[in-house]
Symmetry: C2
Subunit: 193 residues, 2 copies
Amino acid sequence: MSSLDTLVESLRRLPGVGAKSASRMAFHLLQHDREGAQLLARALQAAAQQIRHCERCNTFTESPLCSLCADPRRDAGKLCVVETPADQAALERTGAFRGYYFVLMGKLSPLDGIGPREIGMHQLMARALDGQVSEVILATNFTAEGEATAHVIGEVLRARGLTVTRLARGVPAGSELEYVDLGTIAHALVDRR
Amino acid sequence: MSSLDTLVESLRRLPGVGAKSASRMAFHLLQHDREGAQLLARALQAAAQQIRHCERCNTFTESPLCSLCADPRRDAGKLCVVETPADQAALERTGAFRGYYFVLMGKLSPLDGIGPREIGMHQLMARALDGQVSEVILATNFTAEGEATAHVIGEVLRARGLTVTRLARGVPAGSELEYVDLGTIAHALVDRR
């Protein structure tokens, strides 16, 4: 196989990249951005070698503890469970949460062979039962799989006597009721305050 | 900058990849496919080091001549000019052309600073005027830029006495006139045979 074919095949392993996109990417890098190709090669190698999982919250980090878990000024009584580092970043941007996180790095998806073990259930249990955490806030996505994940984690942690809450469902800020889907309005009614 | 941020930034240099896609790609590689990350890193380095341009047709190759230019059984009297290796591959799949190619590796685009020099006009002239080529077939795309490119190349080569032809425009095979756009039908009328 030529090194061009090998490059196209390797690019196809990226999520959302098919044969045509991979060819276009290879062409672009070789014709217009060889420096970018070298940069990407080095970045991939460095990341694959240096990035591991935070011992406490399971997110990506280059040290044993991620910078957030290493910050002693946060509220040790609250633990927020999210699916991915991107979800964690979205919550952090709000500035409304001062506790710690646990990042599942996925969601329950039995059909894909992703069970409680794969999403670090055991590690989450140990983290939530460290004696300091008083409330676990489930912030998995409001998709079918995210809801199932929240349900399973909630059941397990409640059985151990922890307070478990879920992000509120309701009408998004700035939206007009006329254009909000029925399921969301129904949830907002049930969860009214 | 952390090696994760560096990776995301490097992935964003790929065409069609924005901030969200780059994050998703980095997450996927680190969480689910570290082997793919290493493969891609090696493929990028090998390609950037080994791939150069064919001395005759300007396409990507790892030897001085690409395999097609090195094939002596093709018709040396016909030279087909295309924009990219992907276009060349599409023509080759038809099996309808037995001559040689010249790959511009781009198209004229004055607004982007891509003039005759950048698309290898000088090299194309030398190739077309080697004494063996009797007909140059312009197979650039039927877009505004592709048409302009074909026009400019055609003018220059005709001035040197070469026969220059253009791929026929017309109704695509298998299509019903009712659903074909007006411009295409007009061209098919004008170019009727």
